[in-house]
Structure formats: C-alpha cells, structure tokens
C-alpha cells in the first residue's frame, strides 16, 4: 500500500490522474458495451476512491448507476504471519452481489501482484463473477505472480530501490503520484 510521499519527483499530477481515470472508464465501457451487469470493487485503501471516481465517470457517460463497492483483503494476504496484525477495513459488496457480474477490481498501484491474488481469493468467498478484470492507476512492474492489469492508467517503469507514492484528494488532500528514491535500499 502506498504511503503519502513527501519528496521525490511528481510523475502524475491531478490533471494526469483525471485523464487516466477518464480513459480507464471509457475502456471499461468499451469492453462491456453497457454497464448493466458491471460491478466495480475498489481495493482498500486508495483503490476505493478510485473505483468511485471511475463509477461516477461511467454513470455520467451512460446515464445510470453503476454498482460500486469496496474489498478488504487483509485476511487473505499470504504475508499475514510476517507483519503485526491490523484491523481489516470495511468490505462493501453492492446489494446485487457479484455472482454472474462483470467485476472490475480497482487498485492504485500494481506491484508484486500479491494484493490482487489475495483479492481473487476473497472474491471466491463472496460469489462467482462471470468475468473479473483489473484496473490500476499505476503499473510499476516487478511482478512476483502471473498477474496483469486489463486497464492501466500509467505504466511506470521503476527500480526496486524506488517507491511509488500515490496520494489522493479523498485520503490525503491532494492528487499526485511521485517516485521516491529509498535511501540505502537494496535492488
């Protein structure tokens, strides 16, 4: 999960983020023709406001509401035993459920792929979507699992010694993506 960055260089500003989300929204619509059976699920923490923004854009384009929820994957992570426990965030599955739906998982930064793996496990406990797709604002590479995103706001090749710091208006008061060099980080 990206923490608020305080230094480093800005690679996406508010307008870049807005444009990327608009493009992702249109891509999702193009892939699904109508948004009737579409469910967007944001991954906590910053995937949730991103999913809401995408839903709002699709609603504006289509003229009807898009089911949008939030998914917490804490309990499904494979690194639970290597960190202190933390309280899970609130998972919200839209009233219609997810079975038989076209489900788009939305996250901020795609990195190792382990969060998405955990999310796929979590989804299996809530129902059986017809299709699951993945939309991310930033893909920074360094995958550890065979997972790729269907919709990417920005491909951002990074070194392992760098960190992608993403901040959003809803959670941090500003929209921006920065690349921060970690001091003393080993590649």
């Amino acid at each position: 999960m990206a923490e608020p960055a305080i230094d480093g260089r800005v690679v996406l500003d508010a307008r870049d983020i807005s444009r990327a989300l608009t493009r992702i929204s249109h891509e999702i619509l193009e892939r699904n023709r109508d948004a009737e059976d579409l469910v967007l699920l944001g991954l906590h923490t910053r995937g949730v406001p991103l999913a809401r923004r995408i839903a709002a854009r699709i609603e504006a384009a289509e003229g009807h509401e898009v089911a949008c929820g939030a998914l917490d994957v804490t309990m499904y992570r494979d690194d639970l035993r290597t960190h202190p426990t933390r309280a899970p965030h609130h998972t919200v599955i839209p009233p219609g459920g997810i079975s038989g739906k076209t489900l788009v998982l939305v996250d901020d930064v795609l990195f190792s792929g382990r969060t998405v793996r955990a999310a796929l496990d979590a989804l299996a406990d809530y129902g059986r979507p017809a299709v699951v797709r993945l939309a991310v604002l930033v893909d920074r590479g360094h995958r550890q699992l065979p997972i790729r995103a269907d919709h990417v706001g920005k491909n951002l090749p990074t070194a392992r010694s760098e960190r992608v710091g993403l901040r959003l208006e809803e959670t941090d008061g500003i929209d921006e993506v920065r690349i921060v060099e970690l001091e003393g980080a080993s590649a």
């Binding site: 917490d72 309990m75 499904y76 639970l80 035993r81 290597t82 960190h83 202190p84 426990t85 309280a87 899970p88 965030h89 609130h90 998972t91 496990d121 299996a124 406990d125 809530y126 129902g127």
Partner: protein
C-alpha cells in the same frame, strides 16, 4: 495487543477499539454464504475446558473454524485431568502436540495466568473461577456500543450490573471494560451477594453500588443482568428464590421502570423466572441473542489478533 488475553487489564482502550473494529468485519462474515476466512489456516487452537460450558466453548470453536484454524475441544471430564493429572502436566501435554493457541476455562481464579507462564503460545482466558471472563466483557461492551450508536457511544453512559456480584467474573471484567470505554457502572445486588471489600474497590475503580434496583433502573442507559450461580453457592445467600426475584429480578413490572429501548443484557444461561422474567428476556429491547452472535465475532477478532500476526510474537 499483549501476547495473551487473560484479563481486561491486558487491553487498552485503543486495543479494545481495534478489537471491535475487527469484530465488526467478522460480524459481516456471519451473513455470508461462505462463512470462512483464511487468516488462521494451518494453525491449531485447543479449547481446554475444565468447567462445563456450552456457549463459550462453541462460540470459540465456531470462531476458530470460521478463521480456518483447526480446533480441538477437550473437557476435563473424561480426560486425563480426571485421572489425577496435574494442571501443569495436562496443559503441557496437550500443547506439546503442536498447538498454536490455547483457550482455557478453569474453576480456579488465576488458573489462566498460571498456565500462560508455562507456555510460549498465546493463552485466552475463557473464564477463571470468580476472577475474569474478558471475552464476555468485550462482547457485552461491543453489543452495547453497537446498540447505543457505534464507536464512542459508551462514553458518559450509565450501566447497571445486577445480581450475583460475589461469584461473577463477568461483573469483574465488565466493570473494567466499561470503565475503559468511558461508561459509569452502578453495581446492584443484595448485601449478601456484594463482594467483600467492594466499597474500597468501587472507590478505586470509580463505580457505584446500590441495594435498590427500583431506584437504579430509571436512571440507567442499559442493564446487564447476571446469572444467579447456584452451583457456586453453598446456601444462605438469600432466603428463597422468590425473595430474590422480588428484590432483584428483572420482573415485568420493573421493565416499565427502564427508559424506552434501554438494552437488556444477560450473559446466559438464564434462569427464567429467577433473575430475569420471560417478558424481559424476550422484550424487544433484549439484546441477549445479539450477545451470542457478537460473541463469535469478538472471539474471531481476539483469535485473529493474537494468532495471525508475526510468527515470532
């Protein structure tokens, strides 16, 4: 969070808030078709009950299973403990089988503390004699908090705890937990069921005491009835059951003294007609069944926070 949960002293107000937040998510699992989370997959929890229990033991069992742990139940009856084996040998033997967590109930106050000192795995006290029952207090407070308006809603509230205070570990744990969440407690019991030295204790822990239930009921935001523990009484605490009910039972007429909608709690099992009337137990404001379902959520939360994290913990 501390390593073990032996007493409410082990958790701060912040810890309780964290446990409640997690419990709220666990509560949602109960509504799901697949009631299972993988957080404790591959872990083994043993429920070691030296004293009879239905709801606490099954609640811990369901909690462990819904978190995907392997749960083993052992009761002292019919086990080697009934053949004269010492507590230490019994506990060391069962935990030597690769167990990751121990949930224990014992009739001796302090038994869980003692056992925790012998083991390097987390121990949860599921009731020790007349000492403490921390998960019951947590689930009571969690139920009340949800009922009274969510996080922070116990602040400034006045809660009556009524009944057999002398023998009640639920009372001892609840006084501490409610205090940590900002509620004030008034403990109501006949003089014979007030613990010795309660005046100094009440002063130190900041709660009030009363012998007059009728005077207390109109001024409280919720009432917790306690079970009259006949099995712990050697007699002489009150002349007859009828007399106890007249003085301290939550009878139908007394229901009218409570503020509208004030939640009624009881840790169970209930002696209907003794400490609580059927009308009170089944009243719309009775939260007794909510306590039971909250019990699973709270125990899931406790097991998760004690067992899921860092392996070196």
């Amino acid at each position: 969070m501390t390593r073990h949960l032996l007493s409410i002293d082990d958790v701060s107000a912040d810890d309780i808030a964290k446990l409640f937040a997690t419990a709220a998510e666990m509560h949602d699992v109960q509504k799901r078709e697949v009631k299972k989370l993988p957080a404790l997959r591959g872990r083994t929890v043993i429920n070691l009950f030296f004293e009879d229990s239905t709801r606490t033991r099954s609640s811990f069992e369901i909690a462990g299973k819904w978190l995907s742990a392997d749960v083993i139940n052992l009761s002292a009856k019919g086990s080697s403990a009934s053949k004269g084996e010492s507590l230490r040998d019994t506990v060391l033997t069962v935990t030597a089988m690769g167990v990751d967590g121990l949930v224990m109930r014992h009739s001796a106050s302090g038994a869980a503390h003692q056992v925790a000192g012998w083991l390097d795995i987390p121990v949860v006290n599921a009731g020790d004699g007349m000492h403490e029952h921390p998960t019951q207090a947590l689930l009571d407070c969690y139920t009340l908090q949800r009922q009274l308006g969510g996080p922070g809603s116990l602040e400034g509230k006045r809660i009556a705890i009524v009944g057999d205070l002398t023998h009640s570990r639920v009372f001892r744990s609840n006084v501490k937990a409610l205090g940590k969440l900002g509620a004030s407690v008034v403990a109501v019991a006949p003089p014979t069921l007030m613990p010795a030295g309660i005046a100094e204790w009440a002063k130190a822990d900041g709660f009030a005491t009363s012998y007059d239930l009728d005077a207390v009921l109109p001024e409280v935001d919720a009432v917790m009835m306690l079970r009259v523990q006949r099995e712990r009484m050697s007699g002489g605490y009150f002349p007859t059951s009828r007399e106890y009910t007249v003085g301290y039972g939550l009878t139908r007429p007394r229901l009218g003294l409570l503020r509208d909608g004030a939640p009624i709690l009881h840790p169970g099992p209930m002696n209907r007609g003794l400490e609580i009337s059927p009308e009170a137990a089944d009243a719309a404001s009775s939260r007794i069944l909510d306590q039971v379902s909250a019990g699973v959520a709270i125990r899931m939360s406790v097991l998760y926070h004690l067992l899921a994290g860092e392996e070196s913990a």
